[in-house]
């Protein structure tokens, strides 16, 4: 019977099953305590953003001149700012802005970069060459100037800040994605797809894109953190989201400058919020990188 070519009965069934979600999660946490910590921060932040109204009873924009710059106490856990607004509630609502800007801009930017990068690698040749030149231009272009110009053109406000942050993300994402897509393009399964006469779109979307997810996820998470930081910097330069919208960078603009010493909580807490969030995303992305990189596995 050993000679029968295809006798299903003899195939040993002891082969790896797809690991469960929970199992994967557990493995990730065990292998990357730092990454798990980062992930925890990220999740906490999302929870904060979603359930903001439940977590605080203060209106983040309501002025209260009776309680200007009051230090942290039982009433205002993190104190108030110069308008007497509750800092905790502004930080909690600020998570919304941060996540909105962070997620939307990095998702939009990374996805556009993904499509461009993969297409460029797939088509290669002249298209790739031209594309690379364009990417070079954008890469070399000072990021903050690009953002500055976009905000100057479209004006301030959340949407425009998102646009401003998204544009520089595209070439960065595209470049990284392209690098791995070039390797994927040489994979036999892409050749097999081509040999099957599948359309370019199908090969790009169905066969290549899902396989550059690892680098994609990594820059995605890193970019979320980066976007939050850029948003803060833009606010600091007076170009970002505007008062009275609760946003972390903006809180540092008015606050950190004048009250950093006499009312340090105004500067400390939003700064910590940004740092912690960016820290969380980076830590998570970093560990994801280690985890997804087959070479890193011991």
């Amino acid at each position: 019977m050993a000679t029968e070519t295809a006798s299903p009965g003899t195939i040993v069934e002891d082969i790896p099953r797809k690991p469960t979600m929970l199992g994967t999660l557990g493995a990730f946490c065990r292998g990357n305590p730092l990454g798990a910590f980062g992930g925890f921060i990220v999740i906490a932040m999302c929870v904060m953003a979603v359930f903001a109204p439940l977590l605080t009873s203060y209106d983040p924009t309501a002025n209260d001149f009776g309680a200007m710059l009051s230090a942290p106490d039982w009433e205002h856990w993190l104190g108030t700012d110069q308008f007497g607004r509750d800092l905790l509630s502004r930080i909690i609502y600020g998570a919304r802005t941060a996540l909105l800007v962070g997620f939307v801009s990095s998702f939009a930017g990374c996805f556009l970069g993904l499509i461009l990068g993969v297409s460029s690698a797939y088509f290669g040749g002249r298209f790739d060459l031209l594309f690379q030149r364009v990417m070079d231009v954008f890469m070399a272009f000072p990021l903050i100037i690009l953002a500055l110009a976009v905000v100057a053109i479209f004006g301030t406000g959340v949407v425009n800040v998102i646009i401003a942050i998204t544009i520089p993300v595209i070439p960065r994402a595209a470049r990284i994605v392209r690098a791995s897509a070039l390797a994927i393009r040489e994979m036999p399964y892409v050749d097999a797809a081509r040999a099957n006469g599948f359309s370019h779109t199908r090969i790009i979307f169905r066969h290549m894109m899902p396989n550059v997810m690892a680098p994609f996820l990594i820059i995605l998470t890193a970019q979320v953190g980066q976007a939050i930081l850029i948003e803060a910097s833009l606010s600091y330069l007076g170009l970002g989201v505007q008062e009275p919208v609760p946003a972390w960078g903006l809180m540092l603009r008015g606050g950190a400058q004048e009250y950093a010493e006499s009312a340090p909580w105004v500067a400390i807490f939003p700064g910590l919020a940004i740092t912690l969030a960016v820290f969380g995303f980076n830590l998570f992305g970093d560990s994801l990188r280690d985890w997804l990189d087959p070479k890193m596995k011991t």
């Binding site: 001149f65 100057a152 008062e243 009275p244 400058q257």
Partner: protein, 509 residues
């Protein structure tokens, strides 16, 4: 100060911005005055020891303040004979003439920023070497204050003849200090001019104007003694911090400031074409309560009308409280505001406030206003932008409501209030036209009697702020100058443009 001034020392001070050129006739920014004014003399100026007194202009290069002749239409200035430019050439009436010709009647290719303020001048002549005569088209109370503007540096005719634009890139005046170096973006320094015509002055060996964009940094520079002062004005909290940190080493001078923020609804855009809506917006604002709170966090303080608060032409508190938006009872005001909105069918009004992206005091006041409007159910978002795009927006009329501002040097209400005239004046962005206002303004400008002027001014103010609510005024600015106590002889004024020649300033270390 009873003390006798000491000589010596270099005064370091910080300036928030760098001037684009050195030409005072052409530029309008205080950033030019702070580092450049010490190099030049002017014809007349506010008294450095009492800069806010409207009656106390004093001569710089002239011998004495002239009395008006010809029914207030002719002013004859005698020029001092002992004045030399820094290059050694004598300063004569020809130089003064050339200077004011350039300012009032600029030749093709020359930019003059304050031509309009001196539009009442018909001619300037110099009959002899030490006489300059100004002839006006009509008598005007605005003339002398306009003439005393700190930008009217006296240039050398010889230099102007050789190159009318020479002064844009070069400095050569007859002021207390001689130009030393300019480091692009970093600093401008001057050395004492020994041949200065006010004898014994200046007291300083020199000065160093350091450009520093960030406000916190300027405060800290004073604290760390990298600079003795900043002459624009710092927020109250910074003052308190400096006082707390430095105690007697810091001296604070404060004054009302001839600057105001103006809420300008765009009359060409619905629903702001409706006076009821505009009135509702001004009624919602609690100026009396806000003044107290904002003065702790922003460089604004005094509640006022369209005239600089301490000026004789300004409204008194009682007069103010008659006007919409200034009523003592804010509840009543807001109730009225809601009623008006309802009447106009704008209960759910939402709009965008166009503002300058400058913290002090623009965005802070903007943020406060937004909260005030929220109290009558109006939802406002702020769009704060860099000055360039901000102006572009105002000029194109592509905005709902703007937070415009008016900042003048020498207090001169007759001229300053032209800001509230119709579109013709060019810098009134509310886009309304009112013949009535124009007539009132013209009338007010052509009579000499202060009592009459005041009456017309009240009518004018009532129309602008209350009846039509073309504009509304938030709070007047408040200038706080904390400086190192060793800097002496400098007196605060109502404008960051004036009193910055530094000839009377000295250091006591």
């Amino acid at each position: 100060d009873a003390q006798t001034p000491k000589r010596g020392g270099v005064l370091k001070f910080v300036v928030p911005d760098e001037p684009p050129s050195f030409d005072g006739h052409r530029e309008t920014t205080f950033a030019l005055i702070h580092p450049i004014a010490p190099f030049y003399s002017v014809l007349i100026r506010p008294n450095p020891q009492d800069p806010d007194n409207p009656a106390k202009f004093e001569c710089d290069v002239c011998t004495e303040m002239p009395s008006p002749a010809d029914g207030g239409k002719t002013f004859t200035f005698k020029i001092r004979k002992d004045i030399k430019f820094h290059d050694g050439s004598p300063l004569t009436s020809a130089d003064v003439l050339a200077t004011f010709q350039r300012i009032i009647f600029p030749k093709e290719g020359i930019s003059s920023a304050r031509q309009a303020q001196l539009s009442m001048v018909e001619s300037v002549t110099a009959p002899d070497a030490d006489t300059v005569v100004f002839k006006l088209k009509h008598p005007s109370g605005a003339f002398i204050p306009a003439l005393a503007a700190p930008f009217h540096f006296i240039y050398s005719k010889a230099k102007l003849d050789a190159d009318p634009r020479w002064y844009e890139q070069n400095i050569m005046g007859s002021g207390p200090f001689v130009f030393d170096v300019r480091e692009a973006g970093a600093r401008i320094t001057g050395k004492r001019y020994d041949g200065y015509h006010h004898k014994g002055q200046p007291y300083l060996d020199g000065f160093e104007a350091i450009f520093a964009k960030t406000q916190t940094l300027r405060v800290q520079a004073i604290r760390g003694d990298q600079a003795a002062a900043e002459f624009r004005g710092l927020p109250p909290k910074s003052r308190d911090d400096l006082v707390a940190a430095l105690g007697k080493d810091i001296t604070v001078q404060e004054s009302d400031w001839n600057c105001l923020l103006i809420t300008s609804p765009n009359h060409e855009r619905k629903p702001f074409d409706d006076a009821r809506v505009r009135r509702a917006l001004t009624l919602a604002v609690d100026r009396w309560g806000g003044a107290e709170a904002l003065s702790k966090i922003a460089i604004v303080k005094t509640v006022g009308g369209i005239v600089f608060p301490n000026h004789p032409l300004a409204a008194t508190k009682e007069e103010l409280q008659q006007m919409a938006g200034y009523w003592p009872d804010i509840k009543k005001s807001r109730a009225e505001a809601r009623r008006l909105l309802k009447e106009a069918g704008q209960e759910n009004l939402k709009f965008t406030l166009a503002n300058r992206a400058v913290d002090q005091p623009y965005t802070i006041v903007g943020t406060w206003l937004i909260d005030q409007w929220k109290q009558i159910g109006v939802e406002v978002t702020q769009k704060a932008e860099a000055t360039g795009p901000f102006y572009a927006q105002l000029r194109s009329g592509n905005f709902d409501v703007a937070l415009d501002f008016n900042c003048q040097s020498v207090v001169n209400p007759l001229s300053d209030t032209s800001k509230f005239l119709g579109v013709a004046a060019g810098d009134q962005y509310g886009r309304y036209k009112s013949q009535k206002l124009e007539d009132l303004h013209a009338k007010m400008n052509q009579i000499a009697d202060v009592g009459e002027q005041r009456k017309i001014m009240r009518q004018f103010e009532k129309i602008v702020l209350d009846e039509e609510a073309h504009n509304s005024i938030s709070l007047w600015w408040y200038r706080i100058i904390p400086h190192r106590s060793y800097m002496k002889g400098w007196k605060i004024s109502s404008s960051h443009y004036i009193n910055n020649q530094l000839d009377v300033v000295w250091i006591d270390k």
